[in-house]
């Protein structure tokens, strides 16, 4: 089975600092891939490279076997790559509904839609993430957890094939985390592959089919959650070397 | 060859004056993120103040600089504290509009108060020259240049090395933190704007000594100061020296080789080029 998303030897330099160093991995259909690593490991940079927000210094990215390395962000969005932002990026002056409608209008299935149709679709996504009753509020009136859900709804409205989630559980309590895990599972069941960056190890362990670990911009482990989390290098990266 | 040297020298001397003209604008813009469309009008006011000090009280324009500076500083403080502070947190667009309104008000008040005649400040030594080889250096222009350079360097030192200067920069970058440290942002913003206008006043006095003033020069001067600030870059206070000299030399060369109107074309084309190729300016840190 060929991978949906194939990242090959991708590197990103920021004048002297190497944020992502020769990272390669694949994302297959209907799977949830977790990405973990200490702060500054390059996780968000990796997502930005895949979504097209920043170009790689070297390496290639393939989506459905098509090279998309040179594609602008908007083209990747139209092809079916959706993402949420760690630092949330709503359209502040627009209503929650219209925020999501943008995704419906310009995403993967956007080009044929009318505004009314887009808003209908947006409503469905808002219900899916549990924000149905907040559709008419202004986006900048929402609190933190609601904003996270809005980010998800916006990306989902694009009807993506791949969803890149950047720390959607940050700052949530245990109940809210469970709800988000449930939502992501249902997203996967809709046929969307999800790449989830997370800090909450317990949550990501439950959620992921596979786990990827980044440290100082490099991939240091890739496999099932159990294998990866018992890997020495991973433990060392998080906790430091054991003193004997 | 001698002509070229003269033209280049003229350009450099002009550049010094341009630097001090733009310094106030660049300071307020770079530090407070306030784009002051009325800056040129304040320069014009400084010029008139110096003219009156000279004509009515016989005070030499250079010796009277401190008076003009303090008076204009006070004006700037009041304008910021009493007016601009109320729109600082609005979309930045609003500061553009409000300063435009202020520009209109100042220009009209000046027209009423001073009449539309052209004025120049002519101290006794106005015509004196110093000859250096085959180039002529007008005394007044040279003194203006020297004052401008000294003040610009002084401002650079002030912002980077003194406590107040650092407080100003810190406040502009992080209002909340500044408040926690006991700094009163409203006062500091007003101080900064006051300094910016004080500098405009000084520039006006110098301008009045080397060129003519009338109530309408404000807009053109503002445009020029924008060009200087952007070409030099807003990150570094010394940028205005670079921007000023680049512009001064370009204008002088254009004047010599192509004609008066092309001086302006050249300036603005350089400005557009800088904005497109290197928006942070020649001395700016690249984004």
């Amino acid at each position: 089975m060929s991978p949906l998303l194939n990242v090959v030897g991708v590197t990103r330099r920021f004048s002297g600092l190497v944020a992502v160093n020769n990272v390669s991995f694949s994302l297959f259909e209907r799977e949830i891939l977790g990405v973990i690593g200490p702060n500054g490991a390059g996780k968000t940079t990796l997502i930005s490279l895949i979504s097209g927000t920043i170009p790689p210094t070297s390496g290639e990215i393939y989506f459905e076997s098509q090279p998309i390395t040179r594609f602008h962000a908007y083209r990747r969005g139209r092809l079916g790559i959706g993402r949420t932002f760690q630092i949330m990026q709503p359209f502040p002056g627009l209503s929650v509904l219209d925020n999501v409608a943008v995704g419906a209008l310009f995403g993967h299935t956007g080009s044929g839609r009318t505004l009314a149709n887009a808003r209908e679709h947006a409503r469905e996504q808002l219900h899916f993430v549990g924000l149905g009753n907040l559709s008419n509020r202004r986006a900048d009136e929402l609190g933190g957890p609601a904003r996270k859900r809005l980010e998800l709804a916006k990306a989902l409205a694009m009807e993506p094939k791949v969803l890149l989630c950047d720390e959607v559980m940050a700052g949530l309590n245990l109940v809210e985390i469970d709800e988000v895990i449930e939502i992501i599972r249902r997203v996967r069941d809709r046929g969307i592959s999800v790449l989830v960056i997370e800090h909450v190890i317990k949550a990501i362990k439950r959620l992921s089919d596979r786990l990827l670990v980044l440290h100082h911009g490099e991939k240091i482990a890739d496999g099932t959650p159990d294998t990866v989390l018992s890997d020495e290098r991973v433990v060392e990266a998080y906790l430091g070397r054991r003193r004997e | 060859m001698a002509l070229l040297a003269q033209v280049l020298l003229n350009g450099v001397l002009l550049g010094g004056l341009y630097a001090i003209m733009a310094l106030g604008l660049a300071l307020v813009w770079g530090v407070l993120n306030i784009v002051n469309l009325a800056h040129g009008a304040f320069i014009m006011l400084g010029g008139y103040l110096a003219w009156h000090l000279f004509t009515d009280l016989g005070i030499d324009p250079f010796l009277g600089l401190p008076i003009t500076a303090v008076a204009m500083f006070a004006l700037g403080y009041v304008v910021q504290r009493g007016l601009l502070n109320f729109v600082v947190r609005a979309p930045m667009f609003n500061t553009l509009l409000i300063t435009f309104g202020i520009e209109v008000v100042i220009t009209y008040l000046a027209q009423l108060a001073f009449s539309a005649d052209f004025r120049t400040i002519n101290p006794g030594y106005a015509g004196n020259n110093v000859k250096l080889g085959s180039v002529i250096i007008p005394e007044v222009r040279f003194i203006a240049f020297a004052v401008a350079i000294v003040l610009t360097l002084g401002m650079w030192i002030f912002l980077l090395k003194t406590r107040l200067g650092r407080a100003i920069r810190a406040t502009a970058q992080n209002l909340v933190a500044a408040r926690l440290y006991g700094v009163e942002p409203r006062h500091l913003y007003a101080m900064t704007f006051g300094i910016g206008i004080g500098l405009a006043g000084i520039a006006g006095s110098l301008y009045g000594a080397v060129s003519q003033i009338n109530p309408y020069i404000g807009a053109a001067l503002t445009a020029k100061c924008f060009a200087i600030s952007i070409i030099g870059g807003l990150d570094n206070p010394l940028g205005v020296i670079v921007g000023g000299i680049v512009l001064g030399v370009i204008e002088s060369l254009a004047l010599l080789y192509v004609g008066a109107t092309f001086g302006d074309v050249a300036s603005f084309c350089v400005l557009v080029a800088v904005l497109i190729i290197r928006p942070s300016g020649l001395l700016g840190r690249t984004a």
Partner: protein
């Protein structure tokens, strides 16, 4: 009748009323009308790039000048009819928008504003040196003494411009522009081709501005670089658009009408202080109603006089 239907009918009535003015208004009124209508077109055009797309252009006067010169050159130099001149002016504007829009639209906020201003200033200087444009002396067009026609033309142009803006609020393109305004990076990631959309908005804005310039040139019969590329127009159109309410359909038109009326009344009553008062009005408006008349009329019902105090409270240091 539902509210939107009511609004449309009301607007149509107002347009008919305006169209009827030349029949029973004096010459002075008609002339004032032409100036105001053209200014309203400028404000509305600016609304497209500044209000809806969020890129505050300080250089739309460039398009005005290009439109003016398009008509002037076609009619005075090449003896072509007015319609051809308008097409020429429009073409010049659109080409300019694409060529120079691409680099300049990469800048944000203040920098974009200044770049467009610099372009406008440069154009004045450049055109002063171009032979076919009559250089500094300018051009004289064949005269047409028919204020009635110019009035209806201007009104027609304003109606079309407003309809286009209305279309923006209902179309995918307009939605994309608004998304760009609210958060460009998010818009791009969600599939909006930001570069293309921005340039299209700029070109659309320039198109209507140029057409207004063309009508104005033929009406005035004479133009020179300084008046055609009048920098003051930039600030006027922006203030009218912002005063009325940027990002709304009728706001800029209202702003243009109200501010022109105030200006005219002042000019005839208190001539010396007229300009001064305009500046004071602008300053007061920015402090008290930064979101414009459109927002004021919407919120005044619920907030009353507190609206003004709230604005100050929200935006003060």
């Amino acid at each position: 009748m539902t509210k939107p239907r009511l609004a449309i009918v009301a607007t149509a009535l107002v347009v008919l009323l305006l169209a009827a003015i030349p029949w029973f208004g004096s010459d002075v009124v008609v002339q004032f009308g032409i100036s105001t209508l053209l200014l309203a077109v400028l404000a509305q055009s600016w609304n497209i790039i500044g209000g809806y797309c969020g890129y505050p252009s300080f250089g739309n006067s460039t398009f005005y000048g290009l439109g003016s010169y398009g008509v002037a050159i076609a009619m005075a130099q090449w003896n072509l009819p007015f319609a051809v001149g308008m097409c020429l002016g429009a073409a010049l504007a659109v080409i300019f928008a694409f060529l120079l829009g691409l680099p300049v639209l990469r800048l944000k906020g203040h920098y974009f504003a200044i770049a467009t201003l610099a372009l406008a200033l440069a154009m004045t200087a450049i055109v002063s040196n171009v032979g076919i444009a009559g250089q500094n002396i300018g051009l004289v067009l064949p005269p047409l003494n028919n204020d009635f026609l110019f009035y209806e033309l201007s009104l027609g142009l304003l109606v079309i411009a407003t309809l286009v803006v209305f279309w923006l609020t209902k179309s995918r393109f307009g939605f994309g522009l608004i998304a760009i305004r609210e958060n460009e990076e998010a818009a791009a990631v969600m599939g909006v081709n930001t570069t293309l959309y921005k340039v299209l908005a700029f070109a659309l804005s320039g198109l209507f501005t140029a057409l207004a310039g063309g009508i104005h040139a033929y009406w005035i019969t004479f133009l020179d670089p300084d008046s055609a590329f009048d920098i003051g127009l930039n600030v006027k159109m922006i203030i009218m658009a912002v005063f009325g309410g940027p990002g709304s359909v009728l706001g800029p038109v209202l702003g243009a009408f109200v501010l022109s009326a105030i200006s005219e009344v002042l000019a005839s009553e208190i001539t010396t202080v007229a300009g001064l008062f305009f500046g004071v009005v602008v300053v007061a408006a920015v402090v008290l109603m930064p979101r414009g008349l459109a927002d004021l009329s919407r919120r005044f019902k619920s907030e009353g006089w507190r609206y003004f105090a709230n604005n100050i409270k929200n935006y003060r240091l």
